[in-house]
Structures are given as C-alpha cells and as structure tokens.
Amino acid sequence: QQFNRCQLDRLDALEPNNRIKAEAGVIESWDPNDRQFQCVGVAVVRRIIEPNGLLLPQYDSAPQLIYIQSGYGILGAVLPGCPNAYQESQQHQQGQQPDQNQKIRNFRLGDIIALPAGVAYWLYNDGDSEVVALSLLDTNNQANQLDKNPRHFYLAGNPEDEFQLQGRSPRGQRRQQQQGQGRRERGQQQQGQGNNLFSGFRTEDLADAFNVDEETIRNLQGFQEDRKNIVKVKGRLQVVRPPRSREERERLERQEREQEREDEREQQRESRRGGREEREREERQQEREEEREQERERRESRRGGRGRDN
C-alpha cells in the first residue's frame, strides 16, 4: 500500500469533513486518510477563533505552516532553551514577582507562521473580528519520527482530537476503556477524563514535581473541563508584549474600515439589487478614495523621507 499511495487516477477538490465546536471558536479538519493527503504526506486543519478566544497551548508531531486568512492576534511559541525575555515592569503588582515569558509575536492577515515539530504554541485573537488560521502539517517531514498520523499533544484543557482519525477510536471512548481499567489499577479516584499531557500522569507525582498542591494539579489535568480546544478569555488577555508598529496599526484600522464599507455596500446592493448605476457610482467613489489614499501615502513618504520611523 505504501508503494502505490500516489496511484491516483483522479483528483478531487476536498472539503473539511470534521468539525469541532469549542467555547470560543470552531475547528474544521480535512480527512488526513484521504488518498491525496496520504500521497502528499500532509494534514490540514482550519481554526476559526472568535475575538478574545485562546487556542490552548499544544505542540504537534510535525512541522507546520500556519496561514492567517483573516483577523489579527498574538502568537506564543516556546522554543526550548530560549530565555523568558519578556518581563512585566517592576512596578506592576507590588509584592508579587513580575511575570516573565518568552517572546510573543503579533500576527495578522496574510502572515505565514512557521512552527517546528514539538514546539509548544498558543494563539490568541485580540482583534474584534474572527481569526481564520489554516494549518498545514508536513507529516512526511523527517523531523517527524512518529508515524504519518498528525498528532497534537495538548498541554491544557480537555480538547477533542482535531483529526478524529479513522481507525483511531475517538479520544474519549478508548481512553475511557483503558482509563477505567488503568485507574482502577492505580487506585486513583478521579471524575471525568482529561485529554492533555498532564492528565496521564499520577496526580501526586506531578504535585511533587511541581511542588504545588494536588488541587492545582487537578486543574492542570483538566478532568472537569468541557470548553474544548478554543476557550474564551475572562476579560482581556493581560500579557507583556511590544506595541504594534504605527504602520501596522494604521493598516489594521484601514482594513477594518474597508471591511465595514464593504459590508455596507453589500447590504445596499442587496437592498437595491440590479441598480447598475449605483454600482458604477460606488466603483467611481471607490476609485476616488483609492486615489486620495495613494496621494496621502505619496505625501507621507515624501515627508517620511525626512523623519519616518526606521
């Protein structure tokens, strides 16, 4: 079977075949067992993250590229051995140690994000429109020394398997069977089930390793969780990170303005379907605005030559 995996007499345009509704977003995946994906050796998943939504920390078995189709937000990627170079300012929360974390990166529409295999990452939508992020995992990549199944290793919550792989029973069932048996053997009394890395370890071992009480560890293990892979952040996410550059901020604002205008135009078109003159007038108006925009940028670049940010 391995040798004629690319014996494809026909190619099809594929749609996602699996959908997971989470607390603050949706995850759609294409069946990685489809012959075309098997031939090429990739798996694809699309995450739609609502505003203020957080894709829980996880790492994957294969390197991946993430294309940001819409929206903007921040990405945290934990590269082993790198310093926690972002630190809260000293005067923040007297009496408590200022928080430190690794570099945080902004992302926005049109970005491609490259993540190596085994590097933990999380995404947060800090805009006010949806973030649509398409991930392609290169399961054939030599950095993946496991099999060709795309595997997500979750570090938090009680996520569902994004690929619901055929032949692999859904996370919950198999896990329940073995867990019930396993747990009885280990004599642990825990409610529900977690699906993240911590939930597989003995609570007291983790409590010893982390030097915290078992209650906190049980939170890490996510036994009581039902928010799935994308959770809603309480309030806004407070993280230490550099401001976006002025240009990027202006560009984002302009994109949002254009989006609103587009929506309005769409609505008008809807209400007055068939108004051809209307459309032409709108197009003329749009051209005028674009010319004005270009003129302004020209003026700015001229003025910028003398004192613009570098």
């Binding site: 078995s61 082993p80 295999a117 290793f153 890395l197 939930s199 390793a209 982390f210």
Partner: protein
Amino acid sequence: GIEETLCTLRLRENIHDPSRADVYNPQAGRISTLNSHNLPVLRWLQLSAEFGRLQRDAIYVPHWNRNAHSVIYVVKGRAQVQVVDDFGQAVFDDELQQGQILTVPQNFAVVKRASSSEGFEWVAFKTNDNAQISPLAGQNSVLRAIPADVLANAFQLSQEDVSELKSNLDQQEITIVRPSRSSSQRKA
C-alpha cells in the same frame, strides 16, 4: 573540524565520568549528554546518548523529547516510570528494572522517579545527533515560558495559584528534583 579529518575522528567518549555531568544536583543526581557537539562523529550517525543517575525518590521531571525517539536501558536500580501519549493516556505506567529497555517515542511525555534505595541509573539512546528535551516543570519549562494570564485562562486557575505555580517553577533550576515535601505532607 579542521583538526579532525575522517581518519583521526574521535570515536570514543566515557559517559559515566561524573566530572563531565551537564546537570548536577547533589541531593537528586546528575545527567550527562553525549551529542555531536562533544563527539562530532555522532553527526554522521544522527544519534546521541544520555547517562542519568537519580538518587532515591528523586524525580526527572516530566518532559518530552522534541526531536528524537529515546530508547532507555536500565543500568542499575529501579524507577517508577510513566509515559503519556497525545491522547493524554499513560501508555506505560510501571516500574522499570535493571536490564530492561523501554522506548519513548518522540514527543511522548515521560517522568521517572527512582524507587529503590540504590537509586536509578540509565543510558538513553536518542535518534537525533542533537537531541533536545522540553521540560514540563522547572525554570526552562514550557509553563514558565507562557504568560500567567494565558495559564490562568487555560487551566481556570486564579492569578494567585498561577503566580505560586510559576514562582515554584522558578526555583527549580534543573530538570532533576528531590521533592521538598512528600505529597502526603503537602495534603496535610
């Protein structure tokens, strides 16, 4: 490098030598790594090795091998070992004894806890000449590198709990620890 051509390549390195330990905690134990940085021929082989020794009850904190499979061979003693897969289930939860071999696939999380009075010694062979681990606990851990508010929301923990968790991680400078309080004392 220039000083070594193929014919004069160094092919041997002693991994037991305590003085070459890369991670050392007198109460907990030590770990020595052998990779293509200190034995260049390994770049050819795409392999590396690790020697570890844990004192009784010491823990090699939960971690995953980011870019390699790991094949563990027990040299001496016994340890309670757990291996967790991407389903979050323990695919191995047992005591490992002298002479036994356990394979830990890439990215599966593993924790070792020496359970015999003589401690626990092992050699791990890794399928990458520059094998890297990513610890789940300790100063270099993933959790410590994630902003507190992300953790608070991801784990539904209070800010105080998160702060305590991160400051405890801050104090664990290396990946082998000896629990300061047993879990029963912590419960009390």
